[in-house]
Symmetry: C2
Subunit: 129 residues, 2 copies
């Protein structure tokens, strides 16, 4: 696959210019602002290829959609069960990769997902009580 078709570049741009963790459909809508006749299939194909090559991260939080992250460096994802947001958080070390290597496993990607309630929804809950 050629490294930078116009479509793929636009998809990467969208991923790099947002801090949400978009779904394929969301990326599709955003890219259409630049390339109105891009197809959803192309978005899926490029997201899959970018994931395979390690340029982006793909994560499932269990809401039925695959989410994508333009930042492929190891970091934590905090998924709020109430509002559905996915928030990034720094990690001091890639303990997952360390644990993997101890088992003779050669890791290339680490995914961290915490499920719970985000700060914002926590404060809303307190006000309700």
């Amino acid at each position: 696959m050629k490294n930078f078709s116009r479509q793929r570049e636009a998809i990467l741009n969208v991923l790099h210019s947002t801090d949400v963790h978009p779904t394929a459909g969301w990326v599709y809508e955003r890219v259409r602002e630049t390339i109105p006749n891009i197809s959803l299939g192309t978005v899926y194909r490029n997201l899959a290829e970018l994931t395979r090559s390690g340029e982006i991260l793909s994560l499932s939080v269990g809401d039925g959609y695959e989410h994508y992250d333009g930042n492929s460096a190891p970091h934590a994802h905090l998924h709020c069960r109430i509002c559905g947001s996915i928030e990034d958080a720094e990690l001091e070390s890639d303990s997952l990769a360390d644990a993997a290597r101890c088992r003779g496993f050669t890791p290339d990607t680490s995914v961290y997902i915490a499920y719970g309630v985000c700060a914002e929804c926590n404060s809303k809950k307190e006000k309700q009580i």
Copy 2:
């Protein structure tokens, strides 16, 4: 939902008596050995409820299936891109939960997934060269 229907107990048993990380279909086949006329819908419903209650863990590794884990304690999952296996590994600490709490996030579940090549597939690769 009643805590222990016959079906739900059988599903939990299957999850607790295996070290693979089965899909709903796999659980369905195994449970049918005990309850031949259980339906796939019931398996899905119970797996969803058990996940919701935190008794089991649900994880997506990106192979198109949802995988389930009877061990809900935080631990690492090593997913081999070659053979597709999901291996467990101990973690020294739940660094994910720590990072989450620092952000005002209240975590209830932590999921760790490393992608790469498992020890067995690594040795097979070396032999090929």
